[in-house]
């Protein structure tokens, strides 16, 4: 079943690796996708293809954190992804060419690879004032995105910014920033939410695409289910402490040193979906909760506004400042009720008594 055909042989030679290495490489990638080994031949065949699919990586209103995150990918590592798996032809942060040499490359891909190439988008797209908040080569981001994404086979939006505007779209969203989905309704996009995206997941999506020539199954926000289907809280290593009621109550206290639950410190793990407890970060080294800090729900829709304030259990009550917590407001309401009824009650004692009701013994006999 795994007998390498000539194409496979060529590929191995071409890449200067052994079959064992290729098997290892492909199994690792399938591992990220949580796919069984029976897909191995398919994955290997895909990786071995002589002509590599072209990928272009666009950056708009980004911090390049998602690019950097991709550079930390380990299975495949970025060298493999860029040189062996794909032809990564445009990516401003790391590409060789600049200026016109760069834009010409992008134009060429859009023309020559029409309908076949993949686009990764990083960063939000500003829509206010005709897109003047982000221009590249004198063109507005939205125009570039429209042209490049609508001619692509598929668009992968990496990071919270490309997903739904991310931080840039947080209130008051000064630049009218939106995610790819909203900027370009109707295009085929998969959202790798997170701030940044986790490169293990994005690599898995790329591998899935290479193997099956299609994107994996997604949820209502077009995020792949394999990565965004479960709640952090249900996968968290501190969960037993949560159930037991063992909470960190002050940073650095005994519970904190013992790795207790961070719920009281504002952890949004119970609200957030993502697979970081399982795949973790930086080649499975750790993840935020392991580092003693609560989750901020970075893969959730509009998380900057919805999950903040990050150190409080609940969002601020709309219309009130950060000083006003829901508890204060609620206790205020209850207090007002108490004060109100007390006052009303006192005033009522001064009300002249109403005449007595007729005694019950005057009840009319029926039947």
């Amino acid at each position: 079943m795994l007998a390498p055909g000539t194409e496979m042989k060529d590929a191995l030679e071409r890449r200067g690796i052994t079959r064992r290495q290729l098997v290892k490489f492909c199994s690792a990638m399938l591992g990220t996708l949580a796919l069984p080994d029976r897909f191995l031949p398919q994955a290997m065949a895909a990786v071995a293809k002589a002509r590599k699919p072209v990928l272009v990586w666009l950056e708009f209103q980004d911090c390049a954190g998602c690019s950097e995150s991709m550079l930390r990918s380990s299975h495949p590592n970025v060298g493999e992804a860029v040189l062996d798996l794909l032809s990564w032809e445009y990516h401003e942060t790391i590409m060789a060419g600049a200026g016109q040499a760069a834009t010409r490359t992008l134009d060429r891909v859009v023309k020559e690879e029409k309908g076949k190439y993949l686009v990764v988008v990083e960063g939000s797209i500003p829509t206010a004032e005709g897109g003047i908040h982000c221009t590249i080569g004198g063109r507005a981001a939205i125009d570039i995105a429209r042209e490049v994404c609508s001619n692509a086979a598929a668009t992968i939006a990496v990071g919270a910014c490309a997903f739904d505007g991310g931080l840039v779209a947080a209130k008051p969203n000064p630049t009218g920033a939106v995610g790819v989905h909203e900027a370009l309704p109707g295009i085929k996009v998969i959202n790798m939410a997170g701030c940044p995206h986790n490169p293990a997941n994005t690599a898995a999506v790329l591998v899935h695409y290479l193997t099956f020539n299609d994107l994996p199954a997604v949820d209502q926000y077009s995020r792949p289910l394999f990565a965004y289907g479960r709640i952090i809280h249900d996968q968290c290593e501190r969960r037993a402490h949560f159930d037991a009621g063992r909470f960190v109550t002050e940073w650095g206290d005994e519970g904190h040193r013992k790795g207790w639950c961070l719920y009281k410190m504002g952890c949004k793990g119970p609200e957030a979906t993502f697979n970081c407890p399982i795949v973790q970060w930086n080649d499975h080294t750790s993840w935020p909760i392991r580092a003693g800090h609560g989750c901020i729900g970075c893969a959730s829709p509009r998380f900057w506004d919805h999950m903040s304030p990050f150190y409080e259990r609940l969002p601020s009550v709309p219309g009130f400042g950060v000083e006003m917590t829901a508890t204060k407001l609620g206790l205020g309401l209850v207090g007002a009720a108490l004060v109100g009824v007390t006052g009303h009650g006192l005033a009522s004692t001064l009300r002249p008594a109403a005449p007595p009701a007729p005694p019950p013994d005057s009840v009319r006999k029926e039947n």
Binding site: W88, I136, G259, G292, H293, P309
Partner: protein
């Protein structure tokens, strides 16, 4: 006379556009423009100051974390919080490892391709490359087989006709001077560095859960709880050993690869020791204390200003003298744009007046950039590794003097070569070395504290906003990889009233001020010869030597 436009400037962070005037083969003027704005300073208003660091961290994912440090420091300054010693050490480790990693990536992946012709590496004799490698470094990966494998891999890519990231390079440009063997060496190390950086930065994963954007800062300390006996503690003896290994790997990588490679490449580009000089004014806030963070005397990189390339005098730094001008920036100030503002009273009121996209040229006589123009005492300053080395050198700091003098000796050059494009490149490498050598010392300090039962890592006195005054203001300074970073915060009723970040790349890449005085990039490009206006490699060399980060610069 012609106008050269480089947009996008690539192998940087963010969206930078350079317009330059070419006259007689040389640049006679240049304009640096940042073309992307997000409004993070505006978005911060009204939010909880304790979480400002989480937001500002996303100003940049390349120098990730540096804005967290400046931010927590600003809030701690405003509220009068002193952080425990362990928090200082952990922050140093996070920022220091960030600096080393960032510098390595900059050299190999962002800057090297300005000096290294990848196509030429195919012509190299791997055996000769191996010889060179062994002569310049003790690095074990230097066999002929190793370089032959790399060459084969590059050849496979070239033969496939799918050159990936390298498709659009200026290969064969006459300004490439390296022999094929060195080109091959550099390409091999490009790949090595790619692999190393992702392993090394696991330091951030251990101390912050992930990189980019580690998540362990707190106003008042760090969330990395320490305990000598708890396996679940973030910092315990077992983790200390991992940190130590990583610190050592940094030291090894810088001494086995980075420094030898810089010293090997530089002699082929001697011209660039006298090009790209720039302003000659250098500013460093100083940072990385090994004792008391409030005492700049304990800083690894000292605080100071050097003016007009005068290495004999280090002027003190007075943060009150920092201002930002928007005379040529797409903002408006309440009191008029001619008057610069101190960041504590700073404003971010975007007002675009540039051409409607798509456009060919900016109106450089009017406003032409999203960057503000920071000034110190009214003067433009260069910040960054070169500024830190210059200030440290002028201040007579031993580690810095030794490192700089050693390099100058190896290159057989006088200190004046520092003020150049290559000077910046070399200063960055030396700084990476000083920092890489320092990391393990901080791990030792941390280990010492852990062993001696000092596990305090958070100061809880001001965590509860109920303990805050009705209003407070403060600022936090940091030396980020690209230079001096400051955050200013105004807190009012437990919420952020105003937040201003004045960022290294804003100093360097900023536009002209109200007096028409150029920023560092603009000044450094003057007189640069450009051989082929269609392939302005020379512009890239100098601009890249600053390690531009435009997301930082504009935010």
């Amino acid at each position: 006379m012609s106008r050269i436009v480089v947009d996008p400037v690539t192998r940087i962070e963010g969206h930078l556009r350079i317009e330059a005037q070419l006259d007689g083969g040389k640049l006679t003027d240049a304009w640096s423009s940042g073309t992307m704005f997000r409004g993070i300073e505006m978005i911060l208003q009204g939010r909880d100051p304790r979480e400002a660091w989480i937001w500002t961290q996303r100003i940049c994912g390349v120098c990730t974390t540096v804005h967290s440090i400046a931010s927590v420091r600003a809030v701690e300054d405003a509220l009068g919080i002193e952080v425990p010693d362990n928090a200082r050490i952990v922050r140093n480790l996070i920022a220091g490892s960030q600096m080393v990693q960032d510098h390595v990536i900059h050299f190999y992946h962002l800057h090297a391709l300005d000096w290294v012709d990848v196509a030429s590496a195919l012509k190299a004799d791997p055996a000769k490359t191996s010889q060179i490698a062994q002569s310049i470094s003790d690095c074990s990966k230097s066999s002929t087989t190793y370089f032959r494998d790399v060459q084969r891999r590059v050849k496979a890519v070239v033969d496939s006709g799918q050159l990936s990231l390298f498709a659009s390079g200026y290969w064969g440009h006459p300004a490439y001077n390296l022999p094929p063997e060195l080109n091959l060496l550099a390409v091999a190390h490009y790949l090595e560095a790619l692999e190393w950086q992702k392993d090394f930065i696991r330091m951030h994963a251990i101390l912050g859960g992930k990189n980019p954007h580690p998540q362990s800062f707190l106003v008042g300390g760090m969330s990395t709880a320490m305990d000598p006996n708890e396996p679940a503690a973030v910092i315990n003896p077992e983790r200390i050993e991992v940190l130590r290994d990583l610190a050592r790997s940094a030291r090894r990588f810088v001494s086995d690869y980075y420094i030898p490679d810089v010293l090997a490449v530089a002699p082929y580009y001697k011209d660039w020791f006298s090009r790209g000089e720039g302003l000659g004014n250098f500013l460093s806030y100083g940072d990385y204390s090994s004792g008391d963070q409030r005492d700049p005397g304990t800083f690894l990189f000292p605080r100071g200003v050097v003016l007009g390339r005068d290495l004999t005098r280090v002027h003190p730094v007075d943060p009150a003298k920092i201002t930002e001008s928007v005379a040529h920036s797409w903002y408006e100030y309440a009191g008029g744009d001619a008057q610069p503002k101190h960041p504590s009273a700073g404003e971010t009121n975007p007002k675009y007046t540039g051409p409607k996209p798509p456009f060919d040229h900016l109106d450089v006589d009017a406003k032409y950039s999203w960057l503000k123009a920071p000034r110190y005492d009214g003067q433009p300053m260069e910040v960054g590794p070169l500024a830190r080395m210059v200030v440290g050198y002028a201040a007579g700091r031993k580690e810095i003097r030794d490192a700089v003098d050693g390099a100058l000796k190896a290159l057989n050059a006088p200190p004046s070569v520092l003020f150049s494009t290559l000077g910046r490149l070399a200063a960055r490498a030396l700084e990476a070395q000083i920092m890489a050598n320092q990391l393990e010392g901080w791990v030792d300090q941390l280990a010492f504290n852990l062993e001696h039962g000092n596990t305090a890592i958070f100061n809880a006195a001001r965590w509860d906003p109920g303990s805050w005054p009705a209003s407070a203001s403060g600022f936090g300074l940091h030396e980020a990889p690209r230079g001096s970073l400051g955050h200013w915060i105004e807190i009012d009723h437990k919420a952020i009233r105003n937040y201003q970040a004045v960022v290294p790349t804003t100093w360097n890449a900023g536009p002209r001020d109200a007096q028409g005085v150029r920023g560092a990039y603009e000044a450094s490009l003057l007189n640069t010869p450009v051989a082929d206006p269609n392939r302005p490699l020379e512009i890239l060399r100098t601009v890249h030597s600053f390690d531009p980060c435009l997301a930082c610069a504009v935010h």
